[in-house]
Symmetry: none
Subunit: 412 residues, 2 copies
């Protein structure tokens, strides 16, 4: 039996006044999700723990059966893996912005005018960087989308116990990085990073791409500002742990990075935007093709759009996107055979909060063998009455593996 | 958004035959609590864990987000803090009784005739005590209500690994205190305590107050018997931990002691008795004044009476007290704005048990943003069907902080 965890990012919500005090999911017309709920087992889930407000990253780490309090050392490692940098245990990883500084090294644009140019030529020059006294440290950059990039430091005696360089506002220079503890390794890494930032300016300020941007009155991408430092953690291989062959279908680098850490294969979704305008027809075709035509037996799927509407506080858009995925995605998912499907969210992104909240998310499991309860609709309110009651994200993999008949008896 | 945890001490119960096999809360007429339940989210809570019979102290420690298995070293430290002794981490603290012993040092009354005299003149003399060989240990007493007092030992090389002095019955001398392990510190502390008990008799037996009690045929308060030893634990400041400004409104020293440990401000309730005859009008006025006219944003409130009726096995009295707090307290609480209110209990005190039990307690959360479920009554039976399902006391602070929009995202 195959299995799928389909995460509708940020799906959970609170009652919204303009929707008649219903949640977007409750108000949405979702005949396919409801049909699955009616023929499945339902409940609510705390992806990390009750009252703990999850990031998308920590929630997915928990849902895959890892302890986020151990594995999640910072966002850097997962972003770096997400863009395809082959990070290794012990590396120090950062997410970075290409930013703009003036001649006095004052940040004038944190995102270099949300640069849309291909930054790979900038990265190519940055990757030639060596810092005097730190010749033993490998310094690796890689571009991500827009103004985003990642940085990985590889070497002995490095530490992630250092402060952030991001000044968060314009009008100030990049922050000097300091060690958080008084270890020599932290001191060394902080000093190195300060020099990397300065050196990036030297390398980038006269780069042809930037000279051309200046000519076009666009802010040059003339400095790298790292943040979200993390020590690359050791992560047990998901396939070995559960005896499976798993793949991830997701739109955002962060989720893909987590899947890479877990040792999952990555299946691209062509032309996905990570937003409500993503091409859901391509998305569902990608899923169906993966389920039917590959030898993977476990899939982690993440659809991002609803989370974005939550962050924007746009109830109507969130509701419509839910209806759209019901129509395009779940009309097909509900017809799959020989697969146990979990539909849930990583966290709530309530319209009223415009950010993640700790409200539990609805969860349903649909497929052969599940104990069908009498819940008829999939949403934050009805799902509470289902047969799963209230579960934790960290239990999900085991529950699913058991329904896939893929667990070993503990004891005799 | 402000928040309040309103604990109705010992509220939970089991079906009572004389109430038609309903619980006192179920049988009681509680229109205001029910209105809050109908417009709130409901569930049941294990304040510590399923099947663990909580004390009021350990339950409150858990509800405030601390691990009682770490923080609760004994009752002494919390009693001592409750009466206002400025205990410090590492102190050894006891609760004590003023008792009566005869000339042969045999206890004839464990509570010195439930002495109602002001015992501060006795304490004053006791605080002059020094024990030969232990001049480096500070010996501090403080009076509490009636026959109760506390004792704190402050010094190096002390231990709480010692036995109790309380013989529990009359007709025997105070028990000799022994070390539980074979550390020198435990041996030293046991020896010191035995000498403190003997010395208390020397100091108290001819005290004018006791001579006058003997003349009046009242048992003299002529010895101190310590019990409930505990090492004063290190407790993280609640305000720093959650970024709040918290206050406690409670009737009993034990709860106030826990709140002091947590760094909460204490708001007195004038003329409260900790019993079913407490002045609830003053109580609700105190709450309303604190919510409306102070800059505190989190309140822990404990109303004690129902627990006492439970201990007494008085179903009718428990039910009537619940009706009284519904009418006087919750008629006003239900009208508060801009606050998320949790109503729950620390534990059940069933009529049939006459002591605490591990039966989970009902819990409801009322205020802006909660996912309203279809529970219409607040009690042990109906609340089970609510949207919170079954939660733990240790999760409560996080859940409340999230609804107050006062949590930080874990991850991104």
């Amino acid at each position: 039996m195959k299995g799928m965890i389909l995460v509708i990012d940020g799906l959970g919500d609170r009652p919204v006044e303009e929707l008649g005090n219903k949640t977007p999911l409750q108000k949405a017309n979702t005949p396919n999700l409801d049909k699955m709920a009616e023929n499945g087992i339902n409940g609510i889930m705390d992806s990390i723990a009750p009252g703990v407000r999850p990031g998308s990253d920590t929630a997915h780490i928990a849902i895959l059966g890892y302890d986020p309090y151990v594995v999640y050392t910072g966002r850097g490692p997962f972003e770096a893996a997400g863009v395809g940098l082959d990070v290794k245990v012990g590396d120090i990883a950062f997410r970075c912005n290409f930013s703009t500084v003036d001649d006095d090294f004052i940040v004038t644009d944190r995102r270099a005018g949300r640069i849309k140019d291909d930054t790979s030529s900038l990265i190519e020059e940055l990757n030639k960087m060596t810092i005097k006294g730190y010749e033993d440290v490998e310094i690796m950059f890689k571009e991500s989308t827009g103004h985003r990039a990642v940085l990985v430091l590889r070497g002995i005696n490095l530490s992630d116990q250092i402060t952030d360089a991001d000044p968060k506002i314009v009008g100030k220079p990049p922050k000097t990085v300091y060690p958080i503890n008084n270890s020599i390794n932290a001191e060394k890494t902080a000093d190195l990073l300060n020099k990397v930032i300065k050196e990036s300016y030297k390398i980038l300020k006269n780069h042809p791409l930037n000279l051309s941007r200046i000519k076009n009155n666009e802010p040059p991408a003339n400095v790298i500002i790292p943040r979200g430092v993390g020590l690359v953690p050791e992560v047990e291989d998901l396939n070995k742990k559960y005896g499976i062959n798993s793949a991830c279908i997701a739109e955002t680098g962060l989720i893909i990075g987590i899947a890479r850490f877990a040792g999952m294969d990555i299946i691209d979704v062509e032309g996905s935007t990570g937003s409500v305008d993503t091409n859901l027809d391509v998305f569902i075709d990608t899923i169906l093709n993966a389920v039917n035509n590959t030898d993977h037996d476990l899939f982690l799927v993440n659809i991002k759009g609803a989370d974005e509407s939550g962050h924007d506080g746009n109830a109507e858009e969130k509701m419509r996107f839910i209806e759209k995925i019901d129509e395009i995605v779940f009309s097909k998912i509900s017809q799959l055979q020989e697969i146990v499907t979990v539909v849930t969210a990583d966290h709530s992104t309530p319209i009223s909060v415009k950010d993640h909240s700790a409200d539990p998310v609805p969860i349903m499991i649909y497929g052969e063998g599940v104990r069908v309860d009498d819940v008829k609709r999939f949403n934050e309110i009805d799902s509470v009455k289902g047969g799963l009651l209230r579960v934790k994200g960290s239990d999900l993999m085991n529950i699913l593996m058991d329904l896939m008949d893929n667990t070993h008896k503990f004891g005799a």
